[in-house]
Amino acid sequence: MIEQIEKPLVVIDALRTHFGKGKRTVRAVDGVDLVIPRGKTVALVGESGSGKTTVGRTMLKLIPATGGKVLFDGYDIFSTSGRDLKKLRQRMQMIFQDPAASLNPRMTVEKIIAEPLKVHFSMSRTQRRQRVAELLQQVELSPRYMNRYPHEFSGGQRQRIGIARALASNPDFIVCDEPVSALDVSIQGQILNLLSDLQQQLGLSYLFVAHDLTVVEHFADIIAVMYLGRIVEIASKQVVLERHHGREHLRHPYSLALLSSIPVIDPAKRQNRVKLTGEMPSPLNPPCGCAFHPRCPLTAKLAAEAPQSETTEIPTSSGTIRVMKRCTQQAPQLQAVDNDAVHKHACIMLQD
């Protein structure tokens, strides 16, 4: 059998998004490479302020990129404009975090969902109405709700309306910007199942932004952990799920900290929690070398055992700490782990 190498749907290459100028530059996204295969879900996970939402918005050209490239099905998004851009926009959509803010309060559900239809397809009014009804059914809402306004719905229902709007233009790719973090836990499951059903039915690819690994570990195929505008570790779902079998899984100290922040119900299984101290540093002035070094438990542990000449003291908000010199000097690059095609991390200490 000839192995068919399919071109990935989205290729993000050294994407940078900076806000402001000169010394007041916020490096929200600072060199992100990511590949989103067709029909798969790639999750971006990280604390608030890590730049994960900005990646999604920059890809859709909602925020101007500072540098890098995004190829969508081979088309360079940033150099496209006018009619070509409109065609691309039809194929890529977005679902927002806050379902209340993402629906125009002065439009009925029908108008909201019909808008992408009006923009991209020439349909008669009855055809559009028909299609809106179909879309509502697809997201498990009754077409009877068509003439209602967004404020008449619950959070979960509003998110379904947002999903229906995203589906209206028949996209191939949807950026889901924390689509469940504003919802009740009971509703989160429903929305995730809906998204996953839609993916199977329609062959969609997702970029799924989340701050919580539990939300994405079953849902995503590939999980990328972001810290301060960069990807620090990327792995397939299998690697992340290994932890349930007590086997080796994610490597990067930041990923491990994220993992250990997941509450464990079974007290017997509770491991030693990795607690991060301090806050994420300002992207205005990121730490030199590895941006994680002021909070990194690994470098602190290694520095305690290493000879003085290899360590250095750095000031933090809670006194000075001793870290490995190399962590403050050398900018880490993503490197493959073992023979895994997907799994990469960017920790100098582990790479040696």
Binding site: L62, L85, F96, R106, H151, R165
Partner: protein, 300 residues
């Protein structure tokens, strides 16, 4: 309100149309003002209609009757007569339609111009915003009333001209308000969603942002009607506005000012008309503003 729901700035709180009236009704002075406003409207337009049909109550307000000059208020002339023996009540009532017409047309023009500049400025930002806002600053530096006076002195003063002049010199605060609304609303997720869908600038401005920016603009519109009525009265008083024999509250007062000691009714009644009208518009506007502001619950 043109629509069922109303969104206030960045707040997620919604004031529905039903909610708006409920809140408005709790404010008694505002309800009275609204009633007065409607009454003024009905009588002003109604009297004009009757006048045009040739029905004069109590007598033709433009018909001079020298023997009957300077009659104090009586049964026959409830508000007295002027120096030419014309009925003051009739003139004040006929003047109402001119004041209202100028007020609404001027406010309408000012709101439309203000919305145009404000939305372009707030939506596009950058150098477009800078140019428009500096232009607004410039316009605001010019003493409006003297500009209006100058222009009114140069052109033939018809009702439409006066309304137009007042309109083009009073749009600046509206444009600033609209710009501020646009700056907030253009960052909303539903606007981002529309952009991601590929909706054009025109569609985003008129379908997504403007409807949500309108409530405070309505308030300004009502307030600027009052302002325009005052400006018109001042202009007519100085002789650059509505020209006699067409009655306007301003020129009735102007005509009566020299007889102020002998015939007080020539000044007092049109003065009261101006006072009551502008007060009613101001208080209605203020009531709308309070009803639309979710943070004002305690004061109502």
């Amino acid at each position: 309100m043109s629509d069922k729901t109303t969104k206030i700035k960045g707040d997620s709180e919604l004031v529905t149309r039903a909610g708006f009236w409920k809140r408005y009704r709790r404010n008694k002075p505002a309800v009275v003002s609204l009633a007065v406003m409607i009454l003024l409207f009905v009588t002003g337009i109604g009297y004009w209609g009757l006048y045009e049909l040739g029905i004069y109550l109590p007598s033709n307000p433009n018909q001079t009757d020298p023997p009957a000059q300077f009659q104090p208020p009586s049964m026959q002339h409830p508000l007295g007569t002027d120096d030419l023996g014309r009925d003051v009540m009739g003139r004040v009532l006929l003047g109402a339609h001119i004041s209202l017409l100028i007020g609404f047309v001027a406010a309408g023009a000012s709101i439309i111009i203000g919305i145009f500049f404000g939305s372009v400025s707030g939506y596009f930002g950058g150098w477009i915003d800078t140019i428009i806002m500096r232009f607004v600053d410039m316009m605001m530096c010019i003493p409006t009333f003297f500009l209006v006076l100058t222009v009114a002195a140069l052109v033939k003063p018809s009702i439409w001209y006066i309304a137009g002049i007042i309109g083009v010199t009073s749009w600046m605060s509206t444009s600033r308000l609209v710009r501020a609304e646009f700056l907030t609303l253009r960052e909303m997720d539903y606007v981002q969603a529309a952009r991601a869908t590929g909706v054009g600038h025109f569609g985003i401005i008129f379908r997504h942002i403007l409807p949500n920016a309108m409530p405070p603009v309505f308030v300004t519109a009502v307030l600027s009607v009052a302002g325009a009525i005052l400006t018109e009265a001042s202009l007519s008083f100085l002789g650059f506005g509505v020209q006699p024999p067409d009655p306007s509250w301003g020129n009735i007062i102007a005509g009566g000012k020299q007889y102020i000691l002998e015939a007080w009714w020539l000044i007092v009644f049109p003065g009261i008309a101006i006072f009551v009208t502008t007060l009613a518009f101001y208080m209605t506007g203020e009531g709308m503003r309070i009803a639309l502001d979710p943070k004002e619950t305690k004061k109502i």
